[in-house]
Symmetry: C2
Subunit: 342 residues, 2 copies
């Protein structure tokens, strides 16, 4: 099948057709050289071919839809591409895998100028270059709304894949960075006003940094569980607890937030830090004896890590328990704020 | 990132939410067991994990959009899923690769009942079962129109990958099956009337058979080029010729069509067989001395193969030349019927 040629519907805009005829879309987005040595064939045939190497292959696929996952008035085209790939890189981080390749399928509405489409790919490429990963295939079609699907492929070591099921009783629960920043950034973009550190929050929303290197640097640890915080810590902590059949006890006051986070309504703070998502930080559980290693790796990588709780045997009261400043313990469900029995 | 949970927008239909709450979409589409022995982790974490094996990995990704690639009035939900996966399997066939895994990202509009979404996945699963491939990941989101993106992964042998660039002067050009059937089927679906063999043509449009086993059975051949006919033989033949820097001379009268094909207007026949696409047959070029092997493999696999031309050194007059019954030769371009200088 011919890839990266638009399957144009009849209603497609003349300018888009002309632009694609003139510049050949594929040549513009195709890398002139590839960074990964295991690649045998990139873009240009019915499929890409990756040479066999003695490592496990870690593979993940996402889909992003305009006005569901992002909106044009809060995200530039460049950011849309950047963030879509960041979310996929974050999945690699969550597995402790080293990203190597990505494929992009995109459905483009007629009212998107071709220059904006290039910007999307440029946003992906700039982030890809940072992590030395190669675009090796995909598909470009036309549709009513912008839809991007990315497939990412990385390498992992068999006994160093960081499954959610690897949390054990006695583990320390930790998170990287600060939580709720992305939602705060989105709020600022949507709610005119004067905010402290607004560019910080907006940047965290538009160009989050996946914690790939940090997760790889923890390769020396033999066992720990890891999840990336794409859907909010409540959801991710529950996934670890369920997969490992344990209970995670989190201390609310220990959940790290940015200094300027307190300028927002306290209800919003609570909602964003627990259920906000899209910070693409990591939550993990490590044996107590390995906590020192995590801290020293974090120092070295200039990544903030915070212990926020511990793992205990599975409790009747729930998979994740949240302990507040008054030592009241409540169940923290996967779902949003409204579902909490506060 | 949590996969296979709907990222619901606010406008999403109540019934869809309820259906997904009650039945947990992921549990319904998740395989209870996996067929591929190299799989270490399927659906259920941030990514799937495939164990290292000593073969090349062949990977491809497509995207299909409702009313661009398929329409509800000509394709049942089951067929949409079936055909989307068939197109991807066809890419594996075109590389001479053995398909092993697939991932599915899908954007579902609010007006698609959840039962129809299950049918899409059932169509994929039934075809996947035939080829013993496993669904190992993906994403499910909501959007304005149905969009399906499939990533397929297969295994190949380094010196047995069937690149488009492997055509050589003196090769015989061949195709499998008959061409234009899919477009004839679509025409029948859209144009009420009495047609001979209508169910044959309709089935070829709705449930095409990718030629995976045939391509694998040709593993004994050391060198040949191969492409699948997804966009029409004109386009695919040009891709082989360009990639190999040769000219393909095709004899129009040798291009195989179904017996009942002649019931259609001759202009339509010409258009469908050359530019129709979606037959998912194969076009290849083999050394003359290997033609006997191709024929015997075809007999064994009960696949029709037809020699339709030969490969010659690159001609000034074009990459693909079409010779008609009157021995007039004309250039056959990649693009549609209208672009032909007849």
């Amino acid at each position: 099948m011919t890839k990266f040629l638009l399957s144009l519907n009849l209603a497609v805009k003349e300018s888009l057709v002309i632009a694609l005829d003139e510049f050949s879309f594929i040549d513009t987005i195709k890398q002139s050289m590839y960074k990964q040595s295991s690649l045998l064939k990139g873009i240009g045939d019915d499929a890409a071919v990756i040479g066999s190497i003695e490592q496990e292959l870690v593979i993940s696929k996402d889909m992003f839809v305009e006005n569901v996952h992002f909106a044009k008035h809060t995200m530039k085209s460049y950011d849309i591409g950047y963030k879509a790939l960041a979310a996929n890189l974050s999945d690699m981080a969550a597995m402790g895998a080293k990203p190597a390749y990505y494929l992009v399928a995109i459905s483009i509405p007629n009212d998107w100028p071709i220059s904006e489409v290039y910007s999307i790919f440029q946003g992906m490429r700039d982030l890809a270059d940072k992590f030395e990963i190669d675009l090796i295939g995909g598909d470009t079609v036309s549709g009513k709304e912008l839809v991007i699907s990315i497939t990412i492929i990385g390498y992992g070591q068999k006994d160093r894949i960081r499954y959610r099921s690897l949390a054990r009783e006695g583990d320390i629960v930790f998170v990287t960075g600060t939580l709720g920043d992305s939602q705060a950034g989105l709020y600022i973009l949507n709610t005119p006003g004067n905010y402290r550190d607004s560019s910080y929050f907006i940047n965290r929303h538009q160009q989050p940094i996946p914690r790939v290197e940090f997760a790889l640097e923890l390769m020396r640890l033999s066992r720990f569980s890891l999840n990336d915080i794409s859907d909010g810590i409540a959801s991710e902590a529950n996934e670890i607890a369920e997969a490992s059949n344990v209970t995670l006890v989190l201390k609310e006051e220990n959940i790290p937030v940015h200094l300027a986070f307190q300028q927002f309504d306290s209800e919003l703070q609570y909602k964003w830090k627990l259920f906000g998502g899209e910070d693409f930080e990591l939550i993990g559980t490590v044996p107590r004896e390995d906590w020192g290693t995590v801290q020293s790796v974090a120092d070295k990588m200039n990544v903030k890590v915070t212990p926020i709780g511990y793992v205990t045997q599975k409790q009747e009261s729930g998979f994740v328990l949240l302990q507040n400043r008054q030592n009241t313990v409540q169940r923290l469900d996967k779902k949003g704020f409204n579902h909490l029995s506060r």
